[in-house]
């Protein structure tokens, strides 16, 4: 467990460093091509540092907001609160904040940077479909992610990928509107600035799947098995999580509207976005979770 924590901190550091270097390189290229000197580099560095700090300190809030999770009080959801508090005691960590995502699909995730700043979110569908023992299994699993600092890597990845998507869109739009403006004016062709913006946008679009690959590497499947085993250590009752996973598998065709590729790896189960279909080809490409049947098998062996 302590090696897990250390390795997750290391991964997060490497990820953030990679993002900063990558953005700085883009800024440098733009600066050189528009012959504005070091301005581009400095601006890009500033953006990169702001992004990294933001993803570290506000990543959990960004993730929670992007999945439309809302915090619930102990009066609204006494059962859920009691379970979270009980398992937090068992794990010896402070009680995370409790959120509910208004979705019919059965799913859950944890986010935050350390056990002192952590949140757990479950979907409305999950709350309605699972009994107490099953819900304990799921929450135990999520708390294991909190204990191991998986949430730190997961949250930083989610916000960095989200920011990369936003930035690439920004560059593409800047080129698009800049191009039209150029056509209207006397200077047809848009000038070097527009071309650079186009190039950067395209590069980032190409890089998006690669970033997806990095997510897969950073959030390895082993960690799901590990959290499964560790969660069972907390509840001392593996069949609870097994039964929950069976229900989740049965309901995995229910689409989730509030999940996207940036947050997919955080969820307990790979979110489906297409009605009536388990997983589209694109989602298969971005597969971040081991198959549920395998997770069940390993729990049953315990």
């Amino acid at each position: 467990m302590y090696e897990q924590i250390a390795s997750n901190k290391r991964r997060t550091f490497v990820l953030v460093l990679g993002a900063v270097v990558f953005l700085a390189a883009i800024g440098y290229v733009i600066g050189v091509m528009t012959s504005s000197g070091p301005v581009g580099l400095v601006l890009a560095l500033a953006v990169a540092v702001a992004m990294s700090l933001g993803s570290y300190f506000y990543g959990d809030r960004i993730v929670l907001a992007s999945t439309r999770a809302r915090e619930v009080s102990a009066q609204d959801q006494p059962r859920l609160h009691n379970i979270v508090e009980g398992l937090a005691i068992a794990a010896g960590i402070p009680k995370p904040r409790v959120h509910v995502v208004p979705e019919r699909a059965l799913n859950a995730y944890a986010t935050g940077r350390d056990p002192e700043h952590s949140s757990i979110a479950v979907t409305q569908g999950l709350l309605e479909a699972l009994n107490r023992v099953e819900l304990e299994g799921v929450i135990g699993h999520e708390l294991a992610h909190v204990q191991d600092r998986d949430i730190l890597v997961g949250t930083v990845v989610a916000t960095l990928v989200g920011a990369a998507v936003l930035l690439s869109e920004f560059f593409m739009r800047a080129w698009f509107w800049g191009g039209i403006g150029g056509r209207r004016g006397s200077d047809r062709g848009g000038g070097p600035v527009a071309l650079v913006l186009l190039a950067v946008g395209i590069v980032m679009l190409i890089l998006a799947p690669i970033v997806g690959q990095i997510i897969k590497l950073a959030v390895s499947r082993n960690r799901e098995y590990l959290a499964g085993a560790q969660g069972a250590m907390l509840t001392r009752y593996p069949p609870g999580l097994v039964s929950a996973l069976r229900k989740i598998e049965a309901g995995s065709t229910i689409p989730m509207h509030s999940a996207n590729n940036a947050t997919a790896h955080l969820w307990l189960n790979q979110p489906s976005r297409i009605q009536g279909e388990g997983m589209g080809p694109l989602e298969r490409l971005f597969q971040t979770h081991p198959p549920i049947s395998e997770r069940i098998r390993r729990l049953e062996e315990m």
């Binding site: 508090e85 009980g86 068992a90 794990a91």
Partner: protein, 184 residues
């Protein structure tokens, strides 16, 4: 030359002792914290029991013996001073509450009472929190005791008076095999 090797060895030993000492302190604090967690949940249960008894009494007044048993167990638990006494009294409460909830099954109006349902969720939640707090406490006690008993940490533990702690046992005498008496 030999002097320096000797000094180095002593420094190494002192360092090892310091590490073991810090580990012992850390574990002892975790045990204390674990006990505090149990205490918080037990108190919560003491607070809930009179409410529950009052609510149930309104519907099932003639289950008086059961109410008295639960109330007595509660008083005994509050007065308990040692860990084993406490554990035993708590088991009696748990036992009594289980009987109480079993009796409630016969009263549909009570089961539909919102106040009762909220109390039931609170008690079930507190019950499982006690179990989890107990689990955490016992795990930490086991780690502390193992460290105190193992060599060479036993030397540091003895020197600084670290004492082994008692487990909060889940043995429930009330639920042992039934004693059948044929003599009468």
């Amino acid at each position: 030359m030999w002097v320096w090797i000797f000094v180095g060895l002593v420094a190494l030993l002192v360092l090892a002792a310091v590490l073991v000492f810090n580990r012992l302190v850390w574990l002892r604090n975790r045990v204390d914290n674990g006990w505090a967690q149990i205490d918080v949940q037990l108190r919560r249960r003491y607070d809930l029991i009179p409410n529950l008894v009052e609510t149930v009494r309104g519907y099932a007044a003639h289950e008086r013996e059961l109410f008295e048993e639960v109330t007595r167990a509660r008083t005994r638990a509050i007065d308990a001073s040692s860990v084993p006494d406490q554990a035993q009294a708590e088991d009696q409460i748990t036992h009594g509450l289980r009987q109480l909830f079993a009796v409630v099954e016969a009263y549909p109006e009570l089961k539909a009472n919102e106040n009762f349902l909220a109390l039931q969720e609170e008690l079930t939640g507190t019950e499982s929190k006690i179990a989890y707090a107990r689990q955490f406490y016992n795990d930490q006690v086991m780690r502390l005791n193992t460290l105190i008993q193992s060599f060479p940490s036993v030397l540091v533990a003895r020197a600084f008076g670290f004492a082994e702690r008692e487990f909060f046992d889940i043995e429930d005498p009330a639920r042992g095999p039934a004693q059948v008496d044929f003599s009468g």
